[in-house]
Homo-oligomer: 328 residues x 2
């Protein structure tokens, strides 16, 4: 049986109020009393019951986070930063992998509400989920507009697209393949593509844009990329994520083309993992720790003051990581 | 204000018991009544309060999962499989990144207990955390012995070490560098190294073993690897994880050595991500989905019947992924 507050008070020879004060770090308590209570807590292996506290109208200190999939390195790093920072501020993280399935996302939202989370951070890319607008909970969004009351944090996708284009232009490309893996019609990653295409047009460089849907299997994705390279014969390729850029690199190798001598390749995301595992890859770096920090900051502001006025859109800067697969 | 059970019952014109039956899918309810109740639930946007239910002695349906860090691709894939499968079985996942910090891990354990989780899956590699033995909660462990009552699921680290050694032996290596990144003195990955070393000795192949501690910064890790390669001049390298194998590959490239012609490289883990991003890497594949499934299966058996007899150790098979950086 778990120890109760009563038992701790009895063991320490103090009132329940005093134990509660020690636990919640409230009011004046002498060091001697504090130590005695702490000793009783340790001896009895007592844990304050968060569930009971939340029923007394206190917050659950639970935050739900919804992202498409943990196994995508970009989201994995984002989730790690979010969870670690939330924990430091006294919050626990309920993880949800939506796989961009609107039905699964709605189920998650219901579950999170049922568990009375204090707030939600969503980096999922499903649009038009009416559920979000019904929620009265504090919500912040990564890279996706969900409604006027929900602040969106993004990195500068337009700037990123321009930087990627500029790198290939410095490498004197003539025929560019632009591969997007955007998740839906109004994805924020569209800005990457639009900015990139604009630069190509300005420089009158021939380019072709293709889109590979999120659900495409790896084998299909590889075939698709190989066929496009064979047919279009690009001397430059930009992909809207690093994993796809790596697939391109490998298909080029199989086709006997050298990177960057024959074909230049630039990716997008710039995770720490990829930069350590394959530092050659030229890419655009999103500031993952800063994005995580800002999402949490905004969410906690809203939790602490539901009426707090917050901006609708926060945009953080990106940077070019030179690497060795693109540019002069 | 959130809708209550009372309001749903009133709106549907049925008793609270009937509403409760519909929600919990218990007892006979006519389709007509069920539809009426569901309509009332939808109109009022009612969500059964999990917190209140858990205080009534019902389970919270929360599971805590503790892993060193989400941003390690191996753990990221494991976490995705675990969360997705738990969700299908009606459980929610509280994510904890321990960073192999025993103090942080103890804080997590206290937090999880305070939130009355139904059970814990731990893949963290801290030993001697007495807290685990104090817990009366159902716990299952990945790759780490935590006590007689806690089942451990691993993949066959010994077999993995042998397969890696055999691949390099087929490639006719003469001087092998063995790089482990094990986290502690009694890490399960020691079996990989022991089995590998045993094979090397049988074949009378010169080998050197070095260990890079978990906390080493990427820059230090790179320097360390480069210096070892320069000094020892291996023609084969085995790393106990793929990320380190990729660092080795890059340092070899910087030193002007060709892989696999001059130096063969084999990694360990075989994540889906790495096999897609860099399919050249020869590696040992751990069956991540099967490990996740078995961890969940054992945990749920223990939750449903706390007296259930479970094995102490479950070992799943591994496989060699040929790739192109090692072997003949």
């Amino acid at each position: 049986m778990a120890a109760t507050l009563d038992e701790v008070a009895q063991r320490a020879g103090v009132s329940k109020t005093t134990v509660s004060r020690v636990i919640n770090n409230r009011g004046y308590i002498s060091t001697k009393t504090r130590n005695r209570v702490q000793a009783a807590i340790d001896e009895l292996n007592y844990h304050p019951n968060s569930v009971a506290r939340s029923l007394l109208g206190k917050s659950t200190q639970l935050i739900g986070i919804i992202f498409p999939n943990t196994s995508n390195v970009f989201y994995a790093e984002m989730i790690e930063h979010i969870e670690t920072r939330l924990f430091k501020r006294g919050y626990k993280t309920i993880l949800c992998n939506s796989f961009n399935d609107p039905q699964k996302e709605v189920e998650y939202l219901k579950m999170l509400q049922g568990n009375q989370v204090d707030g939600i951070i969503t980096g999922s890319l499903n649009e038009n989920i009416a559920e979000y607008r019904k929620l009265t909970l504090p919500i912040v969004s990564f890279d996706r507009y969900l409604g006027n009351r929900i602040p969106t944090v993004s990195s500068d996708n337009f700037e990123g697209g321009q930087l990627a284009a500029a790198a290939l232009i410095r490498g004197k490309v003539k025929r560019v393949l632009l591969i997007s893996t955007s998740l839906s019609e109004m994805s924020p990653t569209d800005d990457r593509i639009n900015a990139f295409a604009e630069k190509m047009e300005q420089q009158k460089i021939t380019y072709k844009q293709i889109n590979i849907p999120f659900q495409t299997s790896p084998t299909m994705k590889k075939m698709f990329i190989r066929d496009e390279i064979r047919e279009f014969q690009p001397d430059g390729v930009m992909a809207t994520d690093d994993a796809t850029a790596m697939l391109v690199r490998y298909q080029l190798e199989l086709l006997g083309k050298r990177v960057p001598q024959d074909v230049q390749v630039i990716g997008y995301d710039g995770t720490r993992f990829m930069q350590e595992a394959f530092p050659e890859l030229s890419t655009i770096v999103q500031p993952i720790p800063d994005i995580a920090e800002l999402l949490i900051e905004l969410l906690i502001e809203r939790i602490e003051d539901p009426e707090k006025e917050l901006g609708k859109q926060y945009t953080l800067p990106v940077a070019l990581y030179g690497g060795g697969t693109a540019g002069s």
